[in-house]
Symmetry: C2
Subunit: 382 residues, 2 copies
């Protein structure tokens, strides 16, 4: 192992140790689907069992489906907390500082809505979950304003209603000075034909990758670990001139305007995947026996390339844990590839027809770096 | 101030300090309602603005309303963590110990569903939010099993689907060894006539109070503070023979079966209030100018009476911060009082026609102890 090599597992996140609980919980959750069935005749409601294992849970209410989700930001707010001590403009020591919580707000909302829309839902309302370690957290007017402004701005971009939220003070549960941020989102799938669970995915379908803005909200534990090794930490200036911490805080792309535009344009979306934890392994999120052959790789955001270089990651490690420039994947009929790209770009999101779905073992083959991510490497749907 | 006197504010929860953020967030949230209006003509969706300030957010989707909510357990899990070191059976030193996380699971779900049903919704699906301070938390098989079993059992009682959840490991955000528990819930209001926002509440309506099982999930910071003053802490045996900590962990009553039964029985529910933080001040949650005259007070659970006695609280303080035996309030047409009580009792929940709504200043007058809780004392709807 090369000197300086740092993997996702080294950084303290151990997915294997969380899995037993997840499997136990998933089995119990699955069994509760029958509760809706039992009441179904009277209430006209039943679960869509095929949504189990997908990124959002779907219920059939008759003339429409409902989708719902709760997602956690993770530890990205700790980067914002650290960067608040660093002048906002790279190379200008006297430049004003900022809280970055407007960006953090968008990141939190993005974790929820980008998952929700993968089943074909239109997001309707969002609830905020902001749990602080002490009442002090809410005394900081500048940070509060940024968090609220960023939250509202993201809702406005999405066209959703901020329905409410919970702002508990959890001394003894949340660390002093920290905040646990999460978002829950409810969406509607109407007409019901918008439901996207991947039944129609087929060999020959085009894989359209949508650009990411940077690290988004996955890989932050590794990013934080790396900052400890850098002589100037988050203030380290990358080759392009921006500070490492500043670039980490570029807000996550909100993809729902792209999926909405694609549905309205009548594009045949066969499957949709949000590329989050496990990086490009999420491209093979669909349970079918398909090989995803990628021949065009989007440009890698500088902050991710910097992380890969500084942690001496192999291409397999990098593409298997980070988004590497692609934050979202649309799987479309071959003839819809160009139209899907045009839809994304009309919403200001760069996109590429990056590859094709093929019959074959479940894996992602990435041609240009010449690597293969195997479907056996992780239980991706858990 | 009497020696030994301990109030809710002394215990470290300072609602006033959280309020500025809440008001700021509420104003911003309110402004996003227009996002749904703008898209309304095309999507057939609009917000029900009157639900702002109520316990769940309501959206009109055409032939039905959707209600949604996210709620946090608070710090009650810390009591379970401490009680795990104490034998489960009072007075039996060699008795087996238990994790209590099955009860904690029900408490967490109750915080969400008991709020959700106040607007007339039938709960459909629940998402779990279990954020641990380290991966270790998920290694404890006994505790994991209890949490999962309790969560599933509560879903089964409610007839809802456990749709999924989030189980992040948030080292640096959540305290080592601790877990931040929350639940989000989606419900449907169909027929639309079930929508219960209080427009029809009127003088003469009966106030039906439903029993609590104990402290539920509010007042735990005070309860934890008190345990530090007791010579044997949570293991202190109360006059009736049960341990203080054991009684604190009696799971919160799930009230949705009562509201469902009441709606199905055609009972005219004019308003519904979940009695949580601020205790009986929640009885005047409705924004109207009404006096709530209580002439019959339910029996006080021993654990609450013990807390009140040990902390030397006045009746005003006790009824103004704890549920004091009444965890939920139904406001019904005068002629429906008896039927509402019968509905609750058929679901195994004791209930009383405890008082009447009167014209007058916004206040709760509790006759037997002879106290008045004033509507000016807190911004209850924030």
């Amino acid at each position: 192992m090369a000197e300086g090599h740092l993997t996702y597992e080294d950084s303290g996140v151990d997915y294997d140790r969380i899995d037993p609980l997840k499997v136990l919980a998933q089995q119990a959750a699955r069994a509760t689907g029958a509760n809706l069935e039992r009441a179904g005749a009277r209430t006209g409601v039943r679960e869509v069992a095929a949504s189990r294992g997908e990124s959002a849970y779907v219920v059939d209410i008759g003339d429409a489906y409902l989708a719902s989700i709760t997602e956690c930001l993770g530890t990205k707010a700790l980067v914002a907390d650290a960067m608040r001590e660093v002048p906002a403009v790279s190379g200008v020591p006297g430049a004003p500082r900022r809280t970055w919580y407007d960006h953090i707000a968008q990141d939190t909302i993005a974790t929820a809505v980008n998952d929700l829309v993968t089943v074909g839902a239109r997001p309707l309302s969002i609830h905020a979950y902001w749990a602080a370690g002490s009442s002090d957290w809410f005394d900081d007017t500048e940070r509060m304003n940024d968090l609220v402004d960023g939250w509202k701005a993201a809702c406005d971009v999405l066209g959703v209603a901020w329905g409410g939220g919970e702002t508990p003070c959890l001394t003894g549960v949340v660390e002093e000075g920290a905040i646990d941020l999460a978002a829950s989102c409810v969406g509607i799938i109407r007409p019901k034909s918008r439901l996207t669970l991947g039944e129609d995915l087929a060999a020959g379908d085009a894989i359209v990758l949508l650009e990411s803005s940077g690290i988004h909200a996955n890989g932050l534990t590794l990013a934080r670990k790396l900052s400890e090794r850098l002589p100037e930490g988050y203030a380290t200036v990358m080759p392009g001139g921006r500070k490492y911490g500043e670039a980490l805080l570029d807000p996550t792309v909100l993809y729902p305007p792209v999926t909405e535009a694609a549905f309205e344009a009548g594009i045949g979306l066969r499957y949709i995947a949000n590329i989050t934890g496990h990086g490009w392994r999420k491209i093979m999120r669909h349970p079918g026996r398909f090989t995803y052959h990628i021949s065009e790789v989007p440009p890698v955001p500088e902050v991710l390339q910097f992380m890969v270089d500084e942690t001496r990651q192999t291409a397999e490690e990098a593409y298997g844990s980070l988004n590497m420039g692609a934050g979202f994947a649309l799987f479309v009929r071959p003839e819809d590839g160009e139209a899907a790209v045009a839809c994304a770009e009309a919403q200001g999101v760069r996109a590429w027809i990056a590859g094709v779905v093929e019959d074959g073992p479940r894996q992602v083959v990435i041609e240009p770096p010449g690597i293969t991510l195997s479907g056996e490497s992780l239980a991706l749907r858990d």
